[in-house]
Every structure is written in C-alpha cells, then in structure tokens.
Amino acid sequence: MRMYPYGLKINPYPSSPTPSFADSQILGGKTHKDARQAILTCLSDLYSKLDTARPTDSDFRLITMIQDVGSGKTHLAYHVKGLPELVENTITSYVDLSQVSPRDIHNIYDSILGGFSRDDIESLRRKILYFLCNKAEDNSKYVKKALNYGFLDNLSGNKNLKHRAEEILKGKQKLNFQYVPEILSSDFSEIQIEIIRSLIEDKLRSDVSKIRSLEGVINSLSAIADMNLKLLNKLTIFQFDEFDSKKESLDFVKAIINAHIPSSILMLILTPSSYDEIKKENPSVFDRLEKANYKIDLAGSNTLFELNDIILEYIRNYDENKLFTFTQESDLSTKIKLVYDGFPDFRNVRSMLNIFYHATEEASKRDSFMIDESIIDDTIKNIYPGSKIRGSLMNVPLSDFIQIKKGVSNMETVESDIREAVRNLLTLTNYEGYVNELNFDNVIGDGIDIIYNDNYGSKIAVSVVVSDEPSKTRAQISNATKSLNIVDKLVVLTGNTNRIFGGSTRNGNNITTIVNMDNAKMIDLIYFNNKFKKQEILNDDLERAITLARSIKLC
C-alpha cells in the first residue's frame, strides 16, 4: 500500500486548482476561522429573531466576502455550506456566476435551483408529500385521490399513505396533481403550489422557462425560501461566487436585495477589483453592498501565519495515528517559511496548497517520512519550472539556499565570507577579461579590500562592509572614502541594514557607489564562492556569475 509522509494514508491536499466540496470540509487559518465564525454569528442572529410562522422582510441579511483570487473565498463558502451544525437549520444554494452564460434571468434562476444539493431537494419533496399525507385528517378524500390511493390498496394491505408517499418519491407511483391545489391552497400560495408540482414531478429546473420576468424569479425564490422555513424549519442561503460588475448580475442582485426575501441570506463573493468596478458601474448596487449586514474580512489570508496553519491543518486532519508530532510541525513550518520568503509569487493559499500537494506526492514516491528541502526544491522545479528564488541570479537550489541562509544570518562570519566571495568573483571576471590588474594585497587606505582596473582603465577600490550595526557601517564607509583621492571610483558593498534608495546609491555616481545587497545577493555570492572553490563553475554559471558581478557594480 502506498504511504504518504507523516504516516498519512492519503495525500491530504486538494489536487484541483479550485476547491471541491469534499476538500472544503477542512478549514485552517485563524483569519478563515474567524470569517466562518462571523458567518455563523450572522446566521444565528437571524435565526434567533425569526418568527417561523410569519417571517417578514426584515428577516433578510446581506453578507459580502471580498478578497483576492486564490485566497480561500470559495473554499470558505463551500465549507459553510457543508458545516454539520448548519445542515440542521439552513439550505444553501451555491452559484458560480462565472459558469452562468449567457447571464439572463432564466440561466441565473436555473443555476440557483441547481445550486441546492440533491439531498435538500429530496428532503423538501418528502416533506411536501408527508405534509399532504397529514392533510388526510381534514381532507381524506382529496388526499387519497392525489396519492392515487384506492380501494385495492387497502385490500392489499397498503394501509399507510406515507408508504405511498415513499413510492412516489422513488418514482414507483405518480402524484395526481389535479387534487393538490385544493388540498394545499390554505397553506401555500399559487406560486408555491406550482413549484411543488415541479418539485414532485422532478421538473423543477425544466420549468424555469415558464417564468417570464425578473419579478417572477424573485417571487419564486421567495416562495422557495418560505417553503424551506415552513416545511423544514431552515433558513435559505443564496451564495453568489465570482460576483462581478456585469449588468445582468447587478440587476439581479439589486432585485434580490430590494425584495428582502424573508428568511434568507444573500452572500456575495467577489474580489476587491470587482467591488471597485461595481462602484464605477452601478453606484446604486454599490451603495447596497456598502450597507451589507456583514462584511466578511479575510484580511491577512495570505500571510505566512495563516498559510502555515492552513497547510498544517490538512495534515492534522488526516493524522489518524498521531504521527505528526510537534517537532515535525515545527520542521515543516520552517520549510513553509522558506518557500514563502523565497518565492513571493506563491504567497497565496491556492499556490501553496498546490506546491504541498505535489511535494506530498513526491515524498511518497521517494518513500520519505517527511517533506524535506530537496523534495520542495524538486517540486517547485517540476511544477513551476520558471520559478526561482526571489532576487537570485545564480539559480540557487532551495536546499542550498536553506543551508547558506543559516550562515548569512551569522554577522560574525558573513563579512569575511562575502569578502572572499567578492575576491573570487573578481578573479573570475579578471580571467574573463572584464577587469584587470587585480590587487588583493597592497591595497591603500583603511577599509579597502580590493583594487583593480576596469575596462576603461579607471582604478576601482572595493570595500565590503556587512555589519548589523549602522554606526559601525557608517564608520567603515567613511574610512573607505578616504581612498577617493587615490582611486577613481569606490564601490562599497554593504548589507541590508542601511538601505538607501535614490541618490548615489540608487542611480550611482562616478565617485562612490554604495550597493545594498539583500539576502538573496549575499546567498548568491556565497553559493558562487562555494562552487568556485570546488571548480564547479560551468558555462551557465559563468554567465550568471558575470551578471552577479554586474549587479553589484563590480564591472
């Protein structure tokens, strides 16, 4: 049997680029959990104030969920739809508006009906038929006729009307609908009786074309919400995902909001960009959205803390044998942080889950108990072949990146490592003819590490100043500048501590150039140096090394 890392029996991560209903039952991350709680609070609030016998238009709530693509909005919507505590008191229709085309009222209404789960539709049908059966106490003759329950049924031992109802539900018998309006007219409106007919005859969606206007659609939705409450004692949630500024969508949503469909919640899921477009396109709808009862805020849904918890939550959920220990969580969190820091492009839920899905598969293939750096490195290379660590010119593999990064954080040794790397980089550029007359030994002035001539014959002095103390850095730079009367140009290579933008640093000048090297540059230099010392600089590396030298203004 194939095993997955951490003793898992399956790969816990979703394999599809968009969430599936099954995957969405796992919800990680504080922001997402807080958002879920906000939705539950809204539902609870509405439910507590609801008069189930006579809901009014004040029993309507509007929720907006606005966040960027790939941040878990759809996942949260699915998750809410499937929450066990909500299954008891809500019926949810989820509509992905991007799949509704052309976006006319019939298609949108059809999608709403299709958005209800099969189980919800079945339970409503059953409730209606049982309701009919119960009406036999007052109207036995019509009920029996409607259920096609005759003399022979009684003789054959089928004494239970509910048994007949079950047969109708299974399609073994048919309902004689001509008697139904008479039975239900005191409890349901005309529209509701029409919907009941469509439901029982299993033609709910095919009857959509019978509705001719937006008003008709709204009335039907109101009727459905009312039946859900009356028969099932459930609130109705209409979820519209990928809500955008298309006119048809805006008109439809505006009508629903204006109708205040009793005992219902309208949840609109959209991106900040769509929200902004709606503002420009239709101020009237925008104003309504601004007044939403709840604005679900997923702020920080793509932060490291959030993504880390989401990734771990999937493993925790499937860790039946409790093999995913605290130590392994910490270790995996370190890897997640490295991916997050090294690859800004992956800083969202969707990308991270995709990487960890593939990394888990790779770990399984290698029979590895854990996901290590080389697995993540190979995964990224395979699924995102164009990706490289942020700012890296030397294409440093993630595993080397991790190793070197630990050393770079040690300020005591990093300066001498960088100095050696710069010397070797200049040695290489000297071989290649980009600089000449290298001098490492008889350098002039304090703080000068290397002197050489560039291709134009200018004498260049290089000073490496990598310190975490700004005052020390400034003093070293000040010392180095004393050599300016002897050389034509001074290049100061410094760390990230004293970032300076603009002026001489940014645009350079012909006297002193201060190059602020970020971690990626320093890691590049040390990676280059390691390869150089092992004589492993090959053709591609050579070009990259020259680019690296240029990037830090050495040639």
Binding site: D68, P272, D276, L304, G502, N509, N510, I511
Partner: protein, 199 residues
C-alpha cells in the same frame, strides 16, 4: 590725523627699507612715540626689529618682504607654504567639482525633487498615511491612487514607485496585501496586482 595715523603713514612711506625708530623719535616729539608704536605693534599694523645695531620699523607686509630678502630660511619656508597653498586650492577645487557633479546628477535623475532622499522608511511612512486616509469601507485602495497622492511628496517615476512598493510589501509582508486588478501595479504570478491594503 591721530598720532597713530601720522606714524603709520611715515613708516609706510619708507617701503621695505623701513625707518629707524630713533628717526621717528626725532620727527614726532609732540606725543609719546613709544606708546603709539606699542599700540600699532599690538594691532599687528607695524613690526619692529633690529637691523644692524639699530631698531627699525616696518608695516607688516613690508617686513615680510624685508625678511624674504635678507633671510634664506624664511624664503624657503614661504616657498613651501605657497606649495601647500596651491595643493589645498587644487583639492578644494576637486571637492567643489565633485559636489557640483553630484548635485547635477541628482538634478538630472530627479528634476526639482527630493527623490534623492527617498528611502524605504520614509516611503513607508507616507504610504501608510495614504492608506490610513483611504475612505473605502473594505480598506482596499487602488495603487494608482496611492501613486497619485504620493507624487505630491516624492516625484518618483512610475517604475521607481512600483519598485519601492514591491520592496515594501516584501519587507513588511505581514503589514500589506495586494490584490489583482486595476490599471497599474505590481506584477505577481504574471498577474497585475493593482490594489493594496494594510492588514
């Protein structure tokens, strides 16, 4: 004319040869010559020195000329000092030229602006200020709008602005989030991210 002016005029008229103090005493008998000379010496206007067996008086400049003529050591020292002076002049010219070049460079890169003074820290302060002024209920604001507002503070080019935004968001990734869309912004995952908000 005061006594000091009378004496100074007399000494000046004798050029680099100077005038004997005894001759001055003979000429100016109506006031205390010793006191007047002492005042002029203290003010640095007159020098008194021995030449031969007699005391002579010169103005300061004439005295230096006299020394230059009669004292070879002094002459050499003067030459050396002049050399140092010339070197200092050259260096001060170089420094002045370098500063002027630097100013020109900064001007050329960022005409009439404070761009040379933009760093991530002061950019962050102004960026945060614009975000905090955002009046949208959901907190998201178009980066183009932020750029427009910040252009009053820093005359950054569009690419410089977005380079700084990218660095800011990378350096403080727990403080900001970007969202896709908009007309201008930062490219991530091949998508234009034109909206920002503080977390």
């Amino acid at each position: 004319m005061s006594s000091e002016e009378l004496v100074l005029e007399k000494i000046l008229s004798t050029g680099s040869y100077g005038i004997k103090k005894s001759d001055l005493k003979k000429e100016f008998i109506s006031f205390d010559l010793d006191q007047t000379l002492e005042n002029l010496v203290n003010n640095g206007k007159v020098c008194v020195d021995k030449k031969g067996s007699a005391y002579y008086c010169w103005t300061s400049e004439r005295y230096l000329k006299h020394l230059n003529n009669v004292d070879p050591k002094f002459r050499i020292l003067v030459e050396r000092i002049k050399l140092i002076e010339r070197k200092l002049d050259n260096h001060s010219n170089s420094v002045r030229d370098a500063i002027n070049n630097l100013i020109e460079l900064l001007k050329a890169d960022n005409p009439g602006s404070q761009n040379g003074l933009v760093n991530l820290d002061n950019f962050k302060i102004e960026f945060d200020t614009v975000l905090s002024r955002s009046n949208t209920s959901i907190g998201w604001i178009e980066l183009g709008q932020v750029r427009s507002e910040l252009s009053e503070k820093f005359e950054l080019s569009k690419s410089d602005f977005y380079e700084l935004v990218e660095q800011l968001v990378n350096a403080y990734h727990n403080e900001y989030e970007l969202s896709t869309g908009g007309n201008e912004g930062v490219i991530l995952r091949g998508l234009l991210h034109g909206f920002v908000r503080g977390i």
